[in-house]
Amino acid sequence: MRALIRDTYDTVHEFVRTFGAFQLFFLRLLRHSPRIVMRRPGLVVTQIYNSGALSLVIIMVCGFFVGGVLGLQGYSNLARFNAEDSVGAVVALALLKELGPVITALLFAGRAGTALSSEIGLMKATDQLSAMEMMAVNPVRRILVPRFLGGVVAMPFLVAIFTCIGLFGAHIVSVDLLGVDVGAFWQQMQASVDINDVREGVIKSFVFGVVVSLLAVWEGYNAIPTAEGVGRATTRTVVISAIAVLILDFMITAVML
């Protein structure tokens, strides 16, 4: 019994400590951010390209098929109530409020988050971060901040692109293939989507961008500098990002309803 209490205490203690360190790390990144944006914008632009532009293909392909399946499911289920004209509204609301931000965040964690973690972890394992320290260059500022900011900037754009492509996919499936009236498709969507729905999606995409990028650089920076350690850090990035995104999604939805 005593051992159980001690184990629980140790676990909670460790969790609180790690969480505190994580928050301090976040503040540290924020503190260095303005300087990097003002003086070395090129570094951030490169990382927006690495995290954003290089994720475009996977985001677009997945967006198309998610939209397509929504169109398909929406049509077949709404048809039971003779409401297949509303498929445009259903797809748009689902994509804008939930699926766009959440699936993009999950894909982003898998594509860009892992790349960030393993890159930073390997830089640590091969002494590149120490070498920078020795050259009096702060690796937090030079390496971590641009990568963090790149992810934060890229995510909302990726979500927007995912959502648009998703609508395009839904349009092809429901209008072009299943014969929903094109006027009804757009009109119903316009009538039922209001600015608050868009705002919810934008807020979520921004929050997820911060969380996933932050977790990715944190895991990379704190990786044990061995092949195994870097591998584990990369896995943790995906797993923890997925959990964090889904929990935060629930919380934001609950607050914004």
Binding site: M123, Q128, S130, E133, M134, V137
Partner: protein, 271 residues
């Protein structure tokens, strides 16, 4: 202590342990300005750790390290970075930045710390690359270099800011005899011509002997012997003799602590 005293680095009663393993205890060591000082010792004695302590990448549990008369434990991060700009360090594996090519790797400290024009940077970088014989490799990526070449590029990068103190961590490992000769002469020449202070960590007795003014032999967390390479070679201490002449038998055990060999092979230890 004024900034121009003879001793550039002084280590006093240093104690450092990692976990329960004591790496240094009561280590005292002085590095004189303008000399090439070699830190030698059997592998696993913490030579690289000592370099990391001197550059405050690690902090000792006890004792102090003075550089130019300043206790480095008291420096703020900004002061520490200012101090480090006077350091050039060659890492064991080179530690080149893998996303930049050779030219940009050498240019990196200049781009970060100076406002030199591109033309001037190009000039300085090519000069340093020429000194290590790799001007022709300027456009290559670190992944395309052999281990020895990477270390030479890293050497060019270490000296690009014209540091006061150059630290070499195992500079002679993995170099062919020709590059080795060139690098040894380069270390000597830079030290004398530019008036810098060099610290060489190595266990290559023969090469170190040709280049060092003063050597410290570290064993068991302490300085086992010090002096010029010739003094060390003729020293009476058994540790020194064993190390300098590469003998298997002596106070420094070749085998890591292990259970009885015969008993382990016969499986008796698991019973």
């Amino acid at each position: 202590m004024d900034g121009t005293s003879e001793n550039l680095i002084e280590i006093i009663d240093l104690k450092y342990s990692r976990g329960s393993r004591v790496i240094f205890e009561d280590l005292n060591l002085t590095i004189k300005r303008g000399e090439i000082t070699a830190l030698m010792g059997p592998s696993g004695t913490g030579k690289t750790t000592l370099l990391r302590l001197i550059t405050r990448q690690l902090v000792p549990q006890q004792g102090a390290i003075y550089i130019n008369g300043v206790d480095i434990a008291t420096l703020t991060q900004q002061e520490l970075y200012q101090l480090r700009q006077q350091f050039g360090m060659l890492f064991q594996n080179g530690a080149l930045l893998t996303d930049l090519n050779v030219f940009e790797n050498v240019a990196f400290p200049l781009r970060e710390h100076t406002k030199l024009t591109n033309r001037l940077i190009r000039h300085v970088v090519l000069t340093k690359l020429h000194a290590v014989g790799l001007r022709g490799a300027a456009d290559m990526m670190p992944a395309e270099l052999s281990g020895g070449m990477a270390r030479r590029v890293a050497l060019a990068r270490a000296m690009v800011m014209d540091p006061e103190i150059l630290i070499y961590d195992e500079p002679f490992v993995g170099l062919d005899p020709i590059s080795m000769g060139v690098i040894v002469r380069l270390v000597r020449r830079m030290n004398d011509a530019l008036g810098i202070t060099s610290i060489v960590v190595s266990h290559d007795v023969a090469e170190v002997s040709t280049v060092a003014d003063r050597s410290y032999l570290i064993s068991d967390g302490k300085v086992a012997a010090s002096g010029s390479p010739d003094e060390l070679k003729t020293a009476n201490s058994e540790v020194v003799r064993q190390f300098m002449h590469g003998m298997a038998d002596g106070p420094v055990a070749f085998h890591f602590e292990a259970p009885n060999y015969a008993e382990q092979l016969l499986g008796r230890d698991s019973e």
